[in-house]
Symmetry: C2
Subunit: 794 residues, 2 copies
């Protein structure tokens, strides 16, 4: 398995000396990768390897590590040569040993983790900690210096890379896409990101498709189509692919160096043209297709079976160390094939002539500040949200579209940060539909594909990013945030489930990052979920799903959920979210005209608390009520208030308290969430023994899940979406799910004790009214005029 | 390389007479599409159009309807001419008016919905019901005859189409991919499905990329790249694209007819070669790229703004009918431009010479039985699962890998149904990793891309479908099931979230289908989730998420969740799931060696009930216990039993009842789920007042959400995954989440009243043991031998 380059100079840009050194550096990285997977001790093989030096549980992935290190070493050369600003995004994140090895060799690792110094003792720690209890994960993770991409779930590297370079004109994101990862939907969609990248304003992504050949147990699709198809595919995607293929180190080094020189030259030429008066058109960006054997330089065969160049190299190429003593010998020979004695000095430190190959300071990819974006993060300049207030002379006196107001606020956020270039809005073609159109007064949609004269609001320098791929929107935004900028993702509520898994992974990234001292806080990921379940009556059942919140609350410490009942509260919440750090904020707000309840002062007070009594809507005069009518969400609030109005007219003896919830997390116990109300405060609001009728925006059981430990939980009765309803009227959606004003009044009658006979008449009148409603909408397709025209009696 | 065929515009294969008739048929379909969106009455325009004839709320999508109808009419011709078996899968499902119009014109609609006959009265009903309360959704839906693809959330048409034709050699799925939909991840990944389609065994997919040009508010990416890139892209994806482009109906009809003749000819030639001794290699399948204006044949301009050929045609091209009387005139002129008087006779019935253009009977795309797969569904032949039992002489006496046993059962399912060709297994490259490898004794992985000599278990006729795209796996399986076959999707538990949204949509499809009498039940969608949270200790945090169940239970009536504690119970559950209909079954089971608790008879009894007391593990002698130790999931069961063992030794005075839950839905009240236990049965198991320590596989609050109405909920204390843990030992994962045996015993001590002093000593011993555990794993990377070697004292 001797593979190290000892051959004389190959034709290519590298001198014999440089080639020899780069190969040695690569061997060092490979040595460290194998060491991390296998070794507990004896890190420099200064004693004969024995079982005692080997980890008892062998856990890790070797397969893509040598390829990742090969690229790393070559990027180091061009970074140094051209003083480039490069981050390294690696889709095949299970190749983490390579990233750890390289950041260790360049010195970053020891600077961030001083307990892992660049000597024999540090090497031993580096090896032991990998995929070991109390140590670090086997995948690229927040713990990995230089990474903005979790290596667990595949598919997001390319959209992360694009997100990173937006508005970073000098940055190059070298993005290794594994050929396994390339089969995923998120990745397949992300190639088209080049239609949204402006070479004048943005940096560059250099995709490196790594044809490693195999997944866990299968070949990969892209490794098994013809070279012509592969080329066509990427030309079709708008790239110019350059192939680097082989397995002999020396010629591969020359090929890779020549190719990198070429693609870096092309990138610079593209950028130069775009930035110095050339036509601003979409270029054909270069990319590299690197085909190397899986587990390159690893054992060719184990127990008579092909290993290098096979899926058998995917994880640990061989184990059973105790059972098969020859495996210990095989491991020793494999490690020695990298000739560690040539690479490390007597202290176990990388020899200086090799260490000199790495860039210095922040040019090291492990130390590049873009990959620890909190360092670069600047606060947004925010206008005073109070200036965008809707005038609300009395509760219910005016109507407004909440998200339209928010759009005006966002328009000015865009303007104020135009120069800082650190705010973008992402959405799957829905920004206008979601009524944020005011933003188009000051910016456009980013668009580098063909434009036609009739196009509106499309431009290369637009700051609204719209592609009909929630995955790409989410990936772009994550990349943008993790490199120290700000943003918002607006989406139809039902379809945000498309990125459930990306949400999970980002939440986990944030959760882990919080405990890593050198990871600086980043701006929160803000979702505006609109076109929500209660106003999808025209689209129907397939567009109705408020369950993203149910998923999100599993990530307790990271998530905030806001259900502002009107425009002014939405403005407050938006401002708060844009100021926050290291969170995921979910705002659910309607886009349709709805009555406005709170003037700005009231909204500030109410939303600051996150939950509170609305005295003007209550009839308990500050005393003990007969029933608590709680509501969360704009439509539930509307129906609750309409129910209160009905009760004032027909059941005036019932003392009602109205509690509105903006910040859903206040319902949780304080030990579960920092926003959780104390039990005393909760009991003060909800009483300890009175019925609570809770009208909630989403699935009703979520409220039970959040409150089951509260004193008065036994009297809690929740109405919400229960999967009923399809194409019908807005009010009928509420009726079908029993959350409308009439059902709410009936719920009160059923639960408040000692009501007079006339309550039974009211219930009968409710039944009649619901029948009338059904007949009317079935005939006319609209709600009863009295429903459409209902107003709070302000 | 052959590039796109240039089809002569004129003349073409259609005679003047046929062209004229086909155009008339198309006009009829367009007329009906506009009518559905706009008209409440006056369906044949026999009176001057007035506001009263127009719907008060205008809801629907016109943009892609004319293109969809154009394709439908042309497919009708080739179906008739060649007696083809074709289903029509339409990604742009918001073009539902076109599908409804065409199935109405061909007669299917009135057969399935006799209240909508083929006359003036029927037309009126057809128009009114569309996107109207009590009517039908505005998107393609289960209600739409001939559809297997919900048109709400975009991205799944192509994988559905491939799923439909697997094992259906005579079937062609004509699949219209919208250029908006084409931007999604799921769709972008699905193009590679052609590497898994065997032309000898499977049918054909004819993708028709519809370059309609615009989404809601934006142009589409694929409509704005050069024709060369577009061609390259699809050649790269492995297709031979044929362009049909224009907006003049007559030449477009000729172009489309010529192109369809050509591609049908190619499909038949490919299939003939593969089925008659030609080499079985991946062909270049033909596809069509159809470029027509959005809202084709609609108003060119409205209020001075371009409408045809613009995003303004996406939904309702113009509204404000009351405010702008000229819009009523515009609508009338538009409708009359289709010359309805030439199309419908005096009864309002399509004229016979036009009706004759449609195929007959089951050849009509709306009546094709493949699109109502329950009609074709045959029961699987299932071996007796009892024959695969693990011998369990006593609880805990043997160890086995549950999924490996399941693999042997599945192997024989494959064998027994080899001839029927109606069972497949889908998974993202994890079938072997998930220990189902026995299936490879009798089948292979389907693979039509290049094969190399060293490949194992890859073959064109494999019945295991592995691509590293959960979206594609899910889409294939949905398409396969909806066309009347059976299957299983095995996946890592954490990554199934990637298809959350597809799960939601499929659940909604099933829910709606249940209420449509003509939709026959289909086989359930079965998930095996393995490599689960408690055994991802080597991969770490990014691979740990048991939250799919939390999402799934929102679809209450459709979902079953099974957590079999061992191999025999997994066998029972697998058998049950494979027999079930119209459900989504989620099985969570480990793949690691674990102790086996139940012999087959006990497993059958226990799993039939879904929940029950394990008397052999309990010490309450059938009387009232001091504590109920409940468990659901294999690892929680193991830890619970280990805790019981500890208590027998150290706290023998505590009477323990062990309750194991296999069928999670038994916990719900019976009014919420058909499997829900009655309150009496629940109270019998869980007592009404004793502490319950519940060790649950997933997030603990789900158990509260399911049981909050139960009598003894106040004494319920749940342990589960709370987002702790990363790369560590298996047992330490349990410790970090407080679900390990020691924490469970401590929970009991904290909750059972009146324990003696020695309980405090036991708690101290527990604390010491956990410290010892931490020290040991940090040093050796393995669990304490006493943990690894623990066995139930059988």
């Amino acid at each position: 398995m001797e593979r190290a380059a000892s051959t004389p100079a190959q034709p290519g840009p590298l001198s014999a000396d440089l080639l020899q050194k780069m190969d040695a550096y690569w061997r060092a990285a490979n040595y460290l990768s194998v060491g991390q997977i296998y070794l507990l001790d004896n890190p420099l093989l200064r004693e004969p390897l024995t079982l005692a030096h080997i980890k008892p549980r062998l856990l890790g992935h070797w397969g893509s590590a040598p390829g990742l290190s090969f690229i790393y070493v070559h990027l180091n050369r061009v970074i140094k040569q051209h003083d480039l600003d490069v981050i390294y995004v690696t889709g095949p994140g299970h190749g983490a040993p390579a990233l750890i090895a390289n950041t260790y060799l360049e010195g970053t690792y020891s600077e961030l983790y001083p307990d892992v110094p660049q000597n024999a003792e540090g090497l031993k720690r580096l090896f032991k900690q990998f995929s070991f209890p109390g140590g670090i994960p086997s995948h690229t993770a927040p713990e990995t210096p230089g990474s903005i991409n979790e290596g667990g779930e595949l598919g997001y590297s390319l959209s992360h890379a694009y997100g990173a370079v937006f508005d970073n004109p000098e940055l190059i994101a070298a993005c290794v896409v594994g050929d396994g990862e390339a089969e995923t939907g998120a990745l397949a969609a992300a190639w088209h990101s080049n239609k949204f990248l402006n070479p004048a304003r943005d940096g560059a992504v250099l995709p490196i498709l790594h044809l490693n050949g195999y997944k866990i147990a299968n070949p990969t699709v892209l490794a098994r189509i013809s070279r012509e198809e592969l080329e066509d595919l990427f030309i079709g995607y708008g790239y110019q692919p350059y192939f680097v293929e082989g397995d002999e180190p020396a010629p591969m080094h020359q090929q890779m160096a020549a190719t990198l020189d070429r693609v870096i030259g092309e990138i610079r030429a593209i950028q130069h043209r775009a930035r110095h008066g050339g036509p601003l058109e979409r270029p054909r960006w270069p990319m590299i297709i690197l085909r190397t054997p899986k587990g390159w330089t690893g054992p060719k065969e184990v127990d008579g079976k092909q290993t290098e160049g096979s899926w058998r190299s995917h994880q640990v190429p061989f184990a059973e160390m105790a059972e098969k003593p020859e495996h210990v010998r095989l491991l020793e020979a494999w490690l020695k094939s990298y000739r560690p004695e040539e690479l490390f000095d007597e202290h176990g430190t990388l020899r200086p002539e090799l260490a000199a190959l790495a860039p210095a300071g922040e040019r090291r990819m492990g130390a590049n500040p873009h990959a620890n974006g909190g360092i670069l993060l600047r606060d947004l300049r925010l206008p005073d949200f109070r200036d965008y207030a809707v005038e609300v002379p009395a509760p219910g006196a005016v109507s407004a579209e909440a998200t339209r107001q928010m759009g005006v606020f966002l328009r000015d956020v865009l303007t104020l940060n135009q120069e800082a270039r650190n705010f973008r809005i992402m959405g799957p073609d829905e920004t206008a539909s979601n009524r944020l159109s005011a933003v188009f007064d000051v910016t456009d949609r980013a668009w580098m594909a063909e434009r036609l004269p009739q196009d509106a609001n499309l431009a290369p320098d637009g700051r609204v990013m719209e592609i009909l791929s929630e995955h790409t929107c989410q990936g772009w935004l994550e990349g943008y945030l993790l490199t120290g900028r700000h943003g918002l993702f607006d989406c139809y509520e039902a379809f945000i489930h498309i990125v459930d898994s990306m949400f999970n992974q980002h939440a986990k990234w944030l959760e882990v990052s919080r405990h890593i001292p050198w990871r600086r806080p980043v701006a929160s990921l803000n979702y505006l979920l609109t076109s929500h379940v209660w106003r999808q009556d025209h689209n129907g059942f397939s567009h109705q799903d408020p369950g993203f919140i149910d998923l999100a609350v599993n990530k307790q410490g990271i998530v905030q959920v806001y259900l502002p009942p009107d425009a002014n509260s939405l403005l407050f919440v938006t401002d708060r979210c844009l100021r926050s750090r290291n969170l995921i904020n979910i705002i659910v707000a309607g886009k349709q005209p709805e009555p406005q309840w709170l003037d700005m002062d009231a909204a500030i007070k109410h939303c600051t608390a996150g939950i509170g009594i609305w005295p003007w809507a209550s009839s308990d005069q500050g005393g003990e009520p007969d029933v608590v009518m709680a509501c969360a969400g704009d439509v539930p609030t509307l129906e609750t208030l309409a129910a209160v109005d009905l009760m004032r007219q027909h059941l005036p003896e019932i003392k009602v308290r109205v509690v509105n919830v903006v910040d859903l997390m206040t319902l949780q116990p304080p030990e579960e969430h920092p926003h959780g109300l104390s039990n005393r405060d909760f009991d003060t609001l909800f009483t300890t023994d009175k019925p609570i009728i809770f009208a909630y925006h989403g699935y009703p059981w979520l409220i039970h899940r959040l409150t089951y430990r509260r004193t008065n939980h036994k009297n809690l009765h929740v109405r919400g979406f229960k999967e009923k309803g399809t194409t019908t009227t807005p009010f009928d959606m509420a009726v079908l799910n029993d959350i409308d004003r009439f059902h709410l009044v009936a719920d009160v009658i059923d639960r408040v004790p000692k009501l007079g006979y006339h309550a039974a008449y009211v219930k009968q009148a409710i039944r009649d009214k619901l029948i009338e409603h059904r007949e009317y909408i079935t005939e006319y397709g609209q709600d009863l005029p009295e429903i459409r025209d209902w107003q709070w009696p302000h």
